[in-house]
């Protein structure tokens, strides 16, 4: 009767098993350091420009939107603090992660998917290499290191974008903007802003690898996996950011 539930539950079980193996492999040899650095380069350095660009414009847009609202209350001096808080807590992590999901969850899924359909994954196992150790774990480590760094860069460039608007349109001085921005941030916000990209990195890497590794049906299958990887990881990023924010507020924010 509940047969229709079997495939999604089985898929989730496979995902959990893959995640456990991938994480366990971090502490097991052999370690493929070369692959980790290659992935860091592909994902981190490769995404740097686009992430910076998006960061800059999200800061500009935030400042523009807030400038109008704040001017009504004569509080345009607070634009720095609002841009800083929204960027560091929420927009920076989410926008960066969605961008990297679109760029790299798809890349990972299509690369591993092509390897799967051309029997390279089987060949790897036949030649004595654990494909999870060789392919999944390096991508997981690389993303977990690189995505928080990208987020920090994106946040900072976003703040610069906000400063550009604050100084040109609102006539704020350098110290007016940066002092309010700096003072608005608490360690709490920074921690939240670093935890999120770390969690998103794990999701992007595992979801991308998961869909790649279970690709079937030739080149068409690779296309399907790629789409699923991007959609699934993006949805999870939004679900998890809401969840983390909710839990964070309960635990750390004293009302």
């Amino acid at each position: 009767m509940l047969d229709f539930l079997k495939p999604p539950i089985a898929a989730f079980q496979d995902f959990v098993l893959l995640s456990i193996r991938a994480v366990r492999n971090i502490f097991r040899s052999p370690h493929y350091a070369d692959d980790i650095f290659v992935q860091m380069d592909v994902i981190g350095v490769g995404s740097l420009f686009i992430v910076s660009l998006i960061g800059l414009f999200s800061g500009i847009v935030m400042a523009l939107q807030m400038a109008r609202a704040l001017t009504q209350y004569g509080a345009q001096g607070q634009v720095g603090s609002i841009v800083a808080i929204t960027l560091v807590r929420e927009l920076g992590p989410v926008l960066t992660a969605v961008l990297v999901a679109g760029r790299n969850a798809s890349g990972i899924a299509s690369e591993l998917g092509s390897m799967k359909v051309t029997e390279q994954i089987d060949a790897m196992r036949a030649l004595g290499t654990d494909p999870i150790q060789k392919l999944v774990t390096p991508r997981l480590i690389a993303l977990a290191v690189v995505l928080p760094l990208l987020t920090v860069i994106s946040d900072f460039i976003g703040l610069i974008g906000g400063y550009f608007i604050a100084s040109t349109m609102l006539g704020l001085t350098y110290s007016e903007y940066w002092t309010t921005a700096w003072q608005a941030l608490e360690y709490n916000d920074l921690a939240q802003g670093l935890l999120k990209p770390f969690v998103f990195a794990v999701i992007i890497a595992l979801v991308g690898c998961f869909y790649g590794m279970r690709t079937t049906g030739g080149t068409q299958g690779v296309g399907r996996s790629t789409t699923s990887a991007v959609v699934t990881s993006s949805v999870w990023i939004f679900v998890l950011t809401a969840f983390i924010t909710y839990v964070w507020n309960i635990i750390f924010v004293k009302q």
């Binding site: 052999p30 390897m115 051309t118 029997e119 390279q120 089987d122 060949a123 790897m124 196992r125 036949a126 030649l127 004595g128 290499t129 654990d130």
Partner: protein
């Protein structure tokens, strides 16, 4: 030695199913050292699954598979790596890693720690320790592709990729070689070159060989021809005195079931309509 020890590969009542499709249906056979098995079957008859189950890439739903006398059905992946180091596989499209050069592809089985161990003991036995590079060159020379060392697989033709795949399969000098449709999608001349290489490997090192194919000619060549190491030619084996004729067996698969097992004369005498279809198509 128990009987199990003298078999290279043994299937006991092995079944495997994917959703509604039966891939293997109660398959049993025994393979001894030096034997050649030719597995014939239409597309989707379970031939490839047979090979994947044989090296534990897929675990069967029921039944037992033994490799070199040891049951592998319930082994963990880590333990399987050591067993697989003694088996060479040629995948259907070659299965080469396209991010690695030809030389790196062929060296892959040797760079691996699991194999490195068994190689160490191997070279001690020979008294000559050869470097990885030498063995890669030697293996590529074997398939006559020494000039492609630094190329990437996507720069090679289909037949050349297949040959590099053979070089990678034989480089670790395995005791059992599995070929998955080595001639599929190749023109007849290239196909014969591939079969000649398979014969050469089999007859030079007396490797147990399983070849999956849908072409009867391939099996006919395997059963009736041999590699003459004196002149480097493939020649028809002298009838009667020939060893490979006796040691070459044919398996015919249909929808996961083993519908025929026997020698070539027995195959030709078979009255089964499915089996006869292959003989007609082949027309060797």
């Amino acid at each position: 030695m128990t009987p199990a020890d003298s078999t290279v590969l043994r299937f006991e009542d092995v079944s495997l199913q994917f959703d509604a499709t039966v891939a293997l249906d109660h398959v049993s056979f025994d393979m001894r050292p030096g034997q050649t098995y030719v597995v014939l079957g239409a597309a989707g008859s379970g031939k490839t699954m047979l090979l994947k189950v044989a090296v534990g890439l897929i675990t069967p739903d029921s039944g037992r598979v033994s490799l070199f006398g040891q049951e592998i059905t319930h082994l963990r992946e880590q333990d399987l790596f050591e067993m697989r180091a003694r088996v060479g596989i040629l995948f259907q499209e070659g299965g080469l890693f396209d991010s690695l050069t030809v030389a790196e592809n062929v060296a892959y089985p040797l760079m691996n720690s699991h194999v490195a161990h068994s190689n160490a003991s191997h070279s001690n036995g020979n008294g000559t320790a050869r470097s990885v590079q030498d063995r890669v060159r030697e293996s590529l020379r074997f398939v006559e592709l020494e000039q492609t060392l630094d190329k990437f697989p996507n720069q090679l033709s289909g037949g050349m990729r297949r040959r590099v795949g053979i070089a990678r399969a034989v480089v670790s000098e395995p005791a059992l070689l599995l070929y998955d449709s080595p001639t599929a999608g190749l023109d007849p001349i290239t196909a014969n070159t591939i079969i000649a290489l398979i014969l050469k490997e089999r007859d030079l090192r007396n490797t147990a060989t399983i070849m999956v194919t849908h072409r009867y000619q391939d099996g006919h060549l395997m059963a009736n021809f041999r590699y003459n190491s004196n002149n480097g030619q493939i020649e028809r084996a002298a009838s009667g005195s020939d060893v490979s004729q006796v040691s070459t067996k044919f398996l015919v698969m249909n929808e996961g079931r083993l519908v025929f097992e026997g020698t070539e004369p027995e195959l030709q005498a078979s009255q089964d309509s499915y089996v006869r279809k292959f003989l007609r198509v082949g027309g060797a």
